[in-house]
Symmetry: C2
Subunit: 414 residues, 2 copies
């Protein structure tokens, strides 16, 4: 099946937003083995949109539109497609009801143009919009299937996950499932991971193996197509085993929504343990990551951002003599920060980071030199030395993730 994606909206052509909807849809289509051949962005203009629709109908089996389903004069995707395929529009009662309810609940008078949002192409398959007003729809015409979806990501993403993907799966010639395992790695770069798995990646067919780098972590998605989930699982397992035999020491978790901080918080909850942190060069990044997880207050005691030597000394009792001889960026300081923040805040684990984030060296120490300390109740404290490359933002981001990764490692040993 040949697919293409058409985003409608002048705001994209003005550069006010990036076309992340096309990226999201491309990922989803790749997962079910549908090839995407073109992305197009066109403005809110009937003539040019029609030109794009004609071209797409002639070359693609599946044409997915995003945007242009709203209430204003500018929103003209379904009206223009209706003209092209020669099918009229009709009000979808469920969508109308939802729109009326929306205004009723908020106590706002509904303006007449909102009714336009409940119009769908006659005879189309309607996708209900659980997070907004305009429904999505799909209609088959000649040899093409046209799918129309709302532009706001908060409405588009759940509609695609819940309704559009099952619909598209049914369209596929052979009934098959696409079953994935997502492995999460840290402490290894994307290119180093790829190099270690190059022969597997090059001969990949079923399952496919795709590495992605995201927010300083690396994710590997193994996807099998098969008649059933069980058959898919059977195809994945030997490949996964081979992968883990080569890079298993860097894997810390599985699944799409399992960043290092998610896994750490969930492991702490399971084990009824707590954590505290002392951050110098990461400046609050570790605390921010941990507290971004809902319910983290159960396990996170708190943290100290000890940006100056005085704070390291006064709040966390690192002796002045150590700060003078070893320096703030040193193994000894990292050790004491981790131990003292753990004790003072009464946590199971204390993690600390001290280093040089740049742009300039500090204490004669080079940009990128970072010490991470992990103290745990009843265990000797571990300090790791890192030499990180990149700019300030990258050094901070990666140092924070390393600290979480080491905390997870320590937890396994405890």
């Amino acid at each position: 099946m040949r697919a293409e994606i058409i985003a409608v909206g002048t705001e994209l052509l003005l550069g006010q937003i990036a076309n992340t909807n096309a990226q999201f849809l491309s990922q989803k289509l790749a997962e079910i083995g549908v090839g995407v051949y073109f992305h197009t962005v066109v403005g809110d203009n009937t003539e040019r949109l029609l030109q794009v629709i004609r071209l797409a109908s002639g070359r693609s089996d599946l044409v997915i539109f995003t945007g242009g389903l709203g209430p204003t004069q500018d929103d003209l995707t379904k009206e223009t497609l209706a003209g092209h395929v020669g099918i009229g529009l009709e009000t979808n009662p469920e969508a109308m009801e939802r729109i009326e309810k929306f205004f009723l609940q908020r106590g706002i008078v509904m303006t007449e143009n909102n009714r336009k949002q409940a119009l769908v192409l006659s005879g189309s398959h309607v996708f209900s919009n659980d997070f907004g007003m305009a429904p999505g729809m799909a209609i088959r015409h000649d040899s093409s299937t046209f799918v129309l979806l709302p532009g706001p990501p908060s409405e588009l993403y759940p509609m695609v996950e819940n309704y559009v993907m099952p619909y598209l799966n049914d369209l596929l010639p052979e009934k098959q499932v696409f079953h994935s395992h997502v492995l999460r790695f840290y402490g290894i770069g994307e290119s180093a991971l790829e190099e270690k798995l190059l022969d597997l990646i090059e001969k990949q067919d079923n399952p496919t193996i795709a590495p992605y780098a995201k927010e300083f972590e690396v994710t590997l998605r193994i996807t099998a197509r098969a008649a059933t989930v069980e058959e898919g699982e059977a195809l994945i397992l030997p490949v996964e085993k081979e992968i883990l035999s080569r890079v298993g020491q860097y894997m810390y978790g599985m699944g799409e929504n399992s960043s290092l901080h998610d896994v750490l918080v969930s492991e702490l909850k399971k084990r009824n343990e707590t954590i505290a942190c002392a951050e110098s060069c990461t400046g609050g990044a570790i605390a921010s990551l941990i507290t971004s997880v809902p319910g983290s207050s159960q396990v996170f005691r708190g943290g100290v951002v000890c940006y100056t030597n005085e704070v390291k000394n006064q709040l966390l009792e690192v002796p002045d003599s150590i700060l003078q001889t070893d320096g703030a960026v040193s193994e000894k300081t990292a050790q004491l920060l981790a131990e003292h923040v753990r004790e003072k805040l009464g946590a199971t684990y204390g993690i600390s980071v001290t280093g040089v984030a740049g742009p300039d060296p500090s204490e004669g120490k080079p940009v990128g030199l970072v010490y991470v300390g992990i103290a745990a109740e009843g265990m000797p404290t571990v300090v790791k030395e890192l030499r990180l490359a990149g700019r300030r933002h990258a050094i901070v981001g990666r140092a924070a993730k390393y600290a979480l990764f080491y905390a997870l490692q320590m937890q396994k040993e405890r």
Copy 2:
């Protein structure tokens, strides 16, 4: 002038990356008044790329390509365009020299395929690549101008800023400059700002007025086209004056790279003042924003992430009686946190945030209720109560920015 942007790369069609290059180029073209009518993404495939080139040549005066200039077999933008326009490729000596030097400096043997990167269309205008190997180029053919640029943003952005924009400016029929003022606002939403300026925005022509929302802040760009910068400035000033008479109280700074934390750090430096923070619900977000500014160690003393009552009590001496009667999320707690963190860390200003980020209420207080405290040396402490909407991430982000905004306001009064 009618322009369109063509991004070449299968990784875009697989959803591995978003087409942020098209967004960037669209913004740059909008700044000089060039209208962008289409974005297209096509894979690394000669036949489909040729199809896209033919279509673009027929409908646009300016066609900008990104990607496909690299050393591998997959990179075929210039080869395919050369075929279309009937012009050969030749080695650009400066580019070749740069490539050879690149390998020499790193002590790596250059593989033969790297020579391909120095090839340019014969007779084209060459843009040197200061941050990579493949040069960009522009060539006029029939009535169209084709511009070919590298895909990696780290190479593309500086090439566009330094070489491509001046080249395009020269192409414009009338010699004119585009001169902008960027105003930064906080404490007002994008739609509320737009509403207050609606009549100005609707009748805008020269200068244009464009509001953008970004990372919980709102930016307004006023852009004039004129023969000289002075004339542009003269067009902008009366409009800016009118805007500030309506929403001036929300403006905190000017310029593209002046987020609230940038302005706050730079003002603190100027005045030789320091700051410290006590964060409960923002969980380190304020410290992270401040320390993201290079050189912030001059003004940032440090912070305490007081996620639990024990930490509020032990490290920042909020009496248990207050935590029991008023609660952790209260005006009084915010006040004491701000005052005590300022005193303990010896800073000019102490800022505190305590609130309910959600997803669940806390102490019977609703999600979104947030108190921000600002203590300053020699001034009475101010506490602001906020009712923020949105999900956890948005509440944290906006509460952190409000705290910075109030700190800037307090600084003005001091």
